[in-house]
Structure formats: C-alpha cells, structure tokens
Amino acid sequence: MGMAMMLAEQDPGELVAGLTAVGRGIVYGGAAIGPGIGIGIVVGNAITAMARQPESAGMVRTTMFLGIAFTEALALFGFVLAFIISG
C-alpha cells in the first residue's frame, strides 16, 4: 500500500525513467547470463572431447571457437537491445 502511494506521488517522467533502467538491467543481465552458461557448456564439452581424443583436438577447437563466438552473439543482441531501449 505504502509502495503504491509512493509510486503515485512520483513524477511520471521519473517513473518511466526508473522502469526503463530496470528493464535495461533485466535485458542485459539476462542476455549475459544465458550465453555465460552456454559458453561454459561448449568449453566444458570441448575439453572433455580433447582429453578423450587428443588426435581430434584441432577440429574440436575449431568448432569450440565458432560455438563460443555464436553464443557470444546472443549476449551482443541483449547488449544492443539494452542500449536501444535506453535511447
């Protein structure tokens, strides 16, 4: 109740700016966590593969690097979106 009254007393411009900042944080934070987990999975499995089959390490590293870069593109999507939201 108190929170609702406090929000009602706010200048609408301030409220919008605050909510935009919160939204930006959620977008960028979410977009960074997902690829972080993804890169962990890619690298973890690549290292397992290299340890098990050292003779195929070259090909594994090639696909690992591509996998990392593609996963990182997701983070860049969120990053760009967060900046565009803020205007």
Binding site: Y28, A32, P35, G36, I39, G40, V42, V43, G44, I47, M50, A51, P54, A57, G58, M59, V60, R61, T62, M64, F65, L66, I68, A69, F70, E72, A73, A75, L76, F77, F79, V80, L81, F83, I84, G87
Partner: protein, 147 residues
C-alpha cells in the same frame, strides 16, 4: 603432454588465431560498404557509428582468439578459464566502449547496434560455411595460414 595433474595440454594446432584473422581479412573489404550504408541511412554520424562498431567487433574477435591461443599453450584448465573469464571481460570492455561514446554527438545507436549484431553474425556465418565446406571436401581446403 605434461604429467602434472591439471596441466595437460594437447598438441592441437592453434586454429583460433587463423580463424579470427581470416574473419578480419574477409571483413575489411566489406567494411567500406557497411560504412557507406551507414552514411546513406544516417549521414556522417551513421558512418562514424558503423565504423566504430566494426572496430569493436573485429577487435573483439581478435582479442578472443589471442586469449585462446595463449591459454591453449598453457593447459586445458587455463583454456577453460580463459574462455569463461575472457567472455566476461570482453563483454565488459565492449559495454564500456559503447557507454563511453553513447552521449557523444556523432553516435547513432541504431546503426551502431545493428552493425555490431549483423557484422558478428555475418562473419561467423561466412567462416562456418567455409569450415563446413573444408570438412566436407578436404581437397578444397586452403593451405595452412590461409584457412
């Protein structure tokens, strides 16, 4: 191969740097076209913003490859740490690099953001296609150093 636990390395070729330089080599001839498109859409500010975005993307790819190449020579554990830690550090650097120029008069956020996403995906798609063809038709594989 080292016998010390946790320091095992592989004798794998350092492919990351070759791939990154290959992508940069492909990106550089396209860069003027991208900058021109930015100029056509958003004027001089658009051209400057797209050029800045290109530098960020290509620099990010090269930094990633350099870090992996260095870590790959150390051990598999260092490679894993460099991949995860490097990701966080590079994203922070890219964020700071955009944040630092965000308020400047010459920055147009839309072409800047579009260029970052499209260039990253475009270069990766191109490289993936080339690698897929090399794996499917090994006879067409370019000589080492020009992967």
């Amino acid at each position: 191969m080292s016998t010390v636990p946790g320091t095992a390395t592989t004798a794998a070729p350092q492919v990351e740097w070759d791939m990154a330089t290959d992508m940069v080599r492909r990106g550089l001839p396209v860069a003027p076209v991208v900058v021109l498109l930015g100029a056509l859409g958003w004027g001089v500010d658009g051209a400057l913003s797209t050029a800045y975005a290109l530098v960020l993307v290509l620099g990010n790819l090269l930094a990633s490859a350099a870090l992996m190449r260095w870590a790959g020579k150390k051990s598999l554990g260092v490679l894993a740490g460099a991949a995860a830690g490097g990701y966080a550090v590079r994203m922070a650097v890219v964020t700071l690099a955009v944040w630092a120029v965000k308020g400047m008069s010459w920055v147009e956020l839309l072409p800047l953001g579009l260029t970052i996403v499209v260039t990253q995906l475009g270069l990766l798609w191109w490289e993936t296609r080339q690698i897929s063809l090399s794996l499917a038709y090994p006879g067409l594989k370019p000589p080492s150093g020009r992967s």
